[in-house]
Each structure stands twice: as C-alpha cells, then as structure tokens.
Amino acid sequence: MKLTELFQKGVFVFTGEVGPVKGCCRTNGGPLPDFVREAAAIKDYVHAVNVADNQSALMRLGSLAASVLLKQAGVEPIFQLTCRDRNRIALQSDLMSACTLGIDNVLCLTGDHIRLGDHTSAKPVFDVDSVQLLKIARGLNEGRDMMGNPLTQPTDLALGAVVNPGFEPLDLQLLKMEKKVEQGAQFFQTQAVFDPVIFESFIRKAERFGVPVMYGLLIVKSPEMARYINENISGITVPRWLTRELEAVPPEGRKEKALEITLRLAKEMAPMVQGIHFMPLGWSDLIPPVVTELRKAGLA
C-alpha cells in the first residue's frame, strides 16, 4: 500500500524504522532475523516501516532485500535509497527492481558520508543528489528513464523525502524542501527534533508546499545515548531537558521514562502534522502504547 493513498484518505500515518543486520539473512525455513521480527511485532500499529540503507555508511544487508523480507512477513516496507553507493544507472535499476519485487514506497536520500561509517576508504559515489533522485524516480513512474528512453512498464512508487526542521539557516533547508516537492516528493519524514517551538516554526513555513509531513520522533534510550548523538550524529540535537529527565531515573526505569517522553512529544506535535515517523533504535515495543494513547486521545 502506497503511503500517498493513506494521506489522500486523510489517515494519520505512523511509520517505524529498522536497520538491516550485517550478515546474510537466508533463513532456510528457520526463525526470521531480529529486525524482521521487530518490524512484524508492530505491524498492527504502524502503516509502514522504513528499512535503512547501509545506515551511517555501515555496510549491511541491502535495504531492498531487507524490504522484501519485511513484505513477506506482512509488513509494509519503505525502501530507503541513498545516492552514496550507487550511480544513476544503479539507482534507476534499483528503483525498477524495488517495484518489480512489490515495494510501494521509497524514501529518496543523499545518504550519510562514507567518512562516518566502517569502510572509510571506499570511493563515495554521490553521482546525483536527493533532489535529482526524486526527479529521476518520478520519471520512472511516468514511464521513462532519465535520458528519456521509454520503459516497457513504468514503476509505481510513492516517493518520500526527508527534511531537517532543526537546520540553521532554516530558510536554506526550506529552499531544498521546496525543490524536492517540485521534483516529485509526495511525503516527508523529518529528521528528529525535540523542540516544539522549533518544529512549529518549521511547519508553519512548510505548510505552503501542501505535502504531507511526518514528525520524526527519535526514542532516546539513555543519557549516554543523548550525549553520543550530540557528539557524533550530525543534524540532531538532544535538548538538555531530555537528558536530565533520563538522568533523574535509575537505569531500570529508563524505558518507562522514554515512553513517557515519547508520548508527550507525540501528543504535542501530532496536531501539526499528517503522521509520525518513529525512530525507535531497537525499542520498537514502545510504539504500540504511544499509538494506542494517541488514538485514544483522538490525535490520530
């Protein structure tokens, strides 16, 4: 099911996110890999689950194969596709492959730089950027490749993109967002933000594009993780209040605290957006109670 159809129906959309493992996942009838089970466990609460593409430039199982595994397990995948490791030929080929294998949703990304991953001596590709990728993907949906050659069958993919509301200067990020919309983005998932004031000023400016936006909600699990994110993950800032709240409880109480914070943020941001994208970093089991609460409160 394409997310665009849900947005058109006015559904408040929830998505989760899993990261494929470093390793082959041929199960031979045995148990499913953990990330598939993690996704399957929340399938009644979210509409789809993002499948990361060699996240943070760490070499992993391909996001397409992992997306197909999710689909087989009854979970709607959002195939993440980055420009870091593929030139324009590979990108187009993978988009057609994805559609051929039953994928309905793709998230078009630039990708984290190789410098941040575990193969720092690799040759970065970045043949095209995310805006150009969206245009290319739209062209494939319309039945032609980027050189204008006709396809025997067009793709039929809902095209997602990302935006960072915490970016400074915000106007520059919005200029890029606008270009993404013009070139084919049909929905957005935001980078993680925790400050409702920042998020609101972003959303007020982004509303004019008329494209559904999903609030990116990162579940911070511990004060250590908060510090790690602030020091190592670019584009995300975990505010001090959040770290302090996690510090104030003993380690065994942190999951409950994380749930409370997540629910609070979800409730605060939900009225501003058309959906919520959870980044649970393994704690996907916190998603069902949050979704249930939001529905009870009439916010979703």
Binding site: G111, D129, S130, K179, G235
Partner: protein, 225 residues
C-alpha cells in the same frame, strides 16, 4: 597548482633499491610551492641518497616539469648523463613523472623513471608556504556563475548541487567539523549579492562524461576530448 607531499624515505629507497646511479629531476613550479620538489628539496634529497650509497648523476629542476616546453630544453642537453644513470627520480607530480618518462623515450632511452612524491590534488594556495585548499575538481562544466563563486562540486563533501544535506551544524560540514558547509557559504554569499533567487533553481545532474579519463585538451581548437 597540483599539490604534492613527500613519500616516506623508505618508500623512495625501496623504489630505487636496484639502482645505484640516480638522476634527480625536480620541478620549480607547483612542487616548489609545496616545498617538495624545488631546487632546495632536490639538493636535500641528493645528500640523503648519497648518504644511502647512491651516486647522484645530476640534479635538474625545470621551471615546470609537466610542460615539455620547459622540461625538454633542460633535459635534452643532459641526454648523455641520463644514459649514464640507472634510474631517474622525479620530485614532481604524477604528470611531471610521466612527461619526464615521455621525454626520455623521445631521446631513445629506456630508463626507469621513479616518483618521490604523492600527488594530492588540484589545490590552491591560501596561506603561502602553509595552506592550500581544494577549490575546484575540474568538472568540465563550471557552475560558479550560479553559486556565488563557491564550488559545490568540490567544497561540498557530497558534491550536492541542489542545496545542503541535513547534517550541517553551526555552519560546519557534517563530514569534517573543521570545514565550513559549502552550501551555507553559498547561501550567505548569494544573499549578500542579492542573488538568493539562484538558490531556487533546480540543477540537473552533472554530465560526468566531461570528466571521463583520460582527457586531452586541443589547445588551439579549445576542445577537450
């Protein structure tokens, strides 16, 4: 300029291991600026190599070793000396090494031509004698007119053409926090010039066939093939 750094001495000695009589060719152009292959560095290396048992047949430092118009007049008169040498060692960029090899071949000589430097890019000097930065990667279709004179192909770590990734923090690039995000620089510059509208323009994917190696420039025709 073509930036160069010195190879470790062990690597140079290993490359010269089978050879005793060595001719040294530097470059008084870019390698001089990088303090890796000018007259002084050639003389220094000559001493070091002598201390390691090499015989230095000659030291020559053309004004631009990569340009036959400059290197041929220097090397041709040394033809007999080159013949006497077991090998040549060039303290220049990879281009200088290959032009030297090419010249020795035109002189009818088959001599090993070794390299003493690593070429590290087309770099431009911002602090003389101290810092050179990469400003241009010779893409063959310059976009500087649209980007406020700041090159996104080179100075953005991901060569993004349509604006920044989401990773910049406090104006710094997510890949290297000691570097400014190129797109924030472009944004500020275009704003200052009153040309912010240029940021809205979609830039098509680059035609990388213009960078397909190896390129040949036909100077009179102004044509690259």
């Amino acid at each position: 300029m073509i930036g160069t750094t010195k190879k470790p001495l062990e690597e140079v000695l290993a490359a010269l291991a089978p050879h005793r009589k060595v001719a040294l060719v530097g470059c008084d152009g870019c390698a001089k600026i990088c303090q890796t292959g000018g007259v002084d560095e050639v003389a220094q290396l000559a001493q070091t190599l002598e201390a390691h048992g090499k015989e230095i047949v000659f030291q020559a430092t053309p004004e631009r070793t990569c340009n036959v118009a400059k290197s041929d007049p220097v090397l041709q008169p040394l033809k007999e000396k080159i013949e006497e040498a077991d090998a040549l060692l060039v303290l220049g960029c990879g281009g200088a090494v290959q032009i030297t090899r090419h010249l020795t071949e035109t002189y009818g000589l088959t001599k090993p031509v070794k390299v003493g430097l690593n070429s590290v890019g087309h770099l431009d000097t911002v602090v003389p004698g101290a810092v050179a930065t990469e400003e241009c990667s010779d893409c063959g279709d310059c976009v500087l007119n649209d980007t406020g004179g700041i090159c996104p192909v080179t100075r953005c770590a991901k060569s993004l053409l349509n604006g920044p990734c989401g990773g910049a923090e406090a104006g710094k690039c997510e890949v290297d926090h000691s570097r400014d995000c190129a797109w924030i620089l472009i944004y500020e510059r275009l704003k200052a010039l009153g040309e912010s509208d240029r940021l809205k323009r979609f830039m098509e994917p680059k035609d990388y066939s213009r960078m397909a190696k190896p390129r040949t420039l036909y100077i009179k025709e102004g044509r690259v093939a």
